[in-house]
Amino acid sequence: MASLSENRPATLSNDEILRYSRHLIMPEVGMDGQLKLKQAKVLCVGAGGLGSPLALYLAAAGVGTLGIVDFDVVDYTNLQRQIIHGTADVGRKKLDSAADTLNEINPNVEVRKFDTRLNSANALELFREFDIIADGTDNFPTRYLVNDACVLTGKPNVYGSIFRFEGQASVFATKDGPCYRCLYPEPPPPGLVPSCAEGGVLGILPGLVGVIQATETIKLILGSGEPLIGRLLLIDALAMRFRELKLRKSQDCPVCGTHPTVSELIDYNQFCGIRGEEAAALSTVRDMTVEELKQRLDRGDDLYVLDVREPHEYQICNLGGQLIPLNDLPKRVSELDSTREIVVHCKMGGRSAKAVDFLKQSGFTRVHNLAGGITAWAERIDPKVPKY
């Protein structure tokens, strides 16, 4: 149960009573419940896919203080799913765009903007100002950071995550319940699980999961229902199946176990094995720039262009290369002539770097990774090629 802050007047105006009528006429909420919502302070980490529906519904429900942490700018490709932002917001800071929408929906909510990247230096102090933290981030280091900071400050972590068309939801870091590290003591190595930009995501999915997070947040504030403490909800949107797995607090958990070893926030990028920028440069092979490729093709050089994207991506745009999707490469490597000079590309350079590593290990010596992929080609060589 979240501790409630006491510094708001414990009343509802007539205007608010009318606004929240549909809450008030239910005994499960009533005036008491609505006042709890008004006095609650929730921090939404991220105003993107998950953060959008989460913040929208919390504002509509009358959560008194909503903190938003996001340093990013609205991008055109966000509009497919980050429904708190509109077309006119492209190029604006997500924080400003989100705050405007939330104020429009419910002017009674105090929206506090935090224009910063959440990190080990600021997380603890920030979290202390709120009752509940809702995690709407999109990368492993931040998820571990949010988790650890929640345990260390004693705030519940309303968790949701998505991948393509599957999602997960739970409530971590309550006193007797598990934390994220109880479930996943270690993150996967970088590059193993693609981001939404690389793997794609069904636009509705963060909507589904984000509203589940909003629901859990409201339940925690009201002290009603059965929150997802000790339960991992698995959502398969394509099959429309919901499953639940049992989670336990791990006695050995370094953060919330009986003998915790983590008493302060660490370097989470290091923890997740990321050195500097998560690189398309996991390979040691010299990259080829798109300018160089253009020059050499124009010159008539004998270059074999290998495209390791998926067939549906090839349909969007292509450089006329031979298509062998990355996962099929081991089976189809015999189709390639190792005496020829091969340039490998994908969308942004990540998958092609892996392909180049694989080819090198298979004995190919004349292979190059096209730095930045077909996206860089579209940006710097041929603007007629669509970006996606």
Binding site: Q168, Y184, L232, L245
Partner: protein, 92 residues
């Protein structure tokens, strides 16, 4: 004897896109071993070099984490379902 293993999305490229795979096995360990025999590309995503299950992957027998049962020695029956639950971080 056929145990159903549910394959999460991030791992489906390594099972030829199948969302479920049926395998034989008396224990969870045997079932997983048969799974990676049938789909060798899956092995490095589930198991580390030393043969241990990777710690960012959880395995459930029905709705219980096998870590709290008998791990790989957990007995499995025909009607059981094994779910592989990897960590995912997407949210943007």
């Amino acid at each position: 004897m056929s145990i159903k293993i549910l394959i999460p999305t991030p791992l489906r490229p390594f099972t030829g896109k199948q969302p479920t795979v049926e395998v034989a096995g008396q224990t969870v360990g045997e079932a997983l071993s048969n799974l990676v025999t049938q789909h060798p590309d899956l092995r490095r995503h589930l198991f580390a070099e030393d043969g241990k299950l990777r710690s960012f992957v959880n395995v459930y027998l029905n709705d219980d984490d096998v870590r709290y049962l008998a791990k790989e020695a957990t007995p499995a029956k025909d009607t059981d379902t094994i779910t592989i639950v990897p960590s995912v971080a997407g949210g943007a």
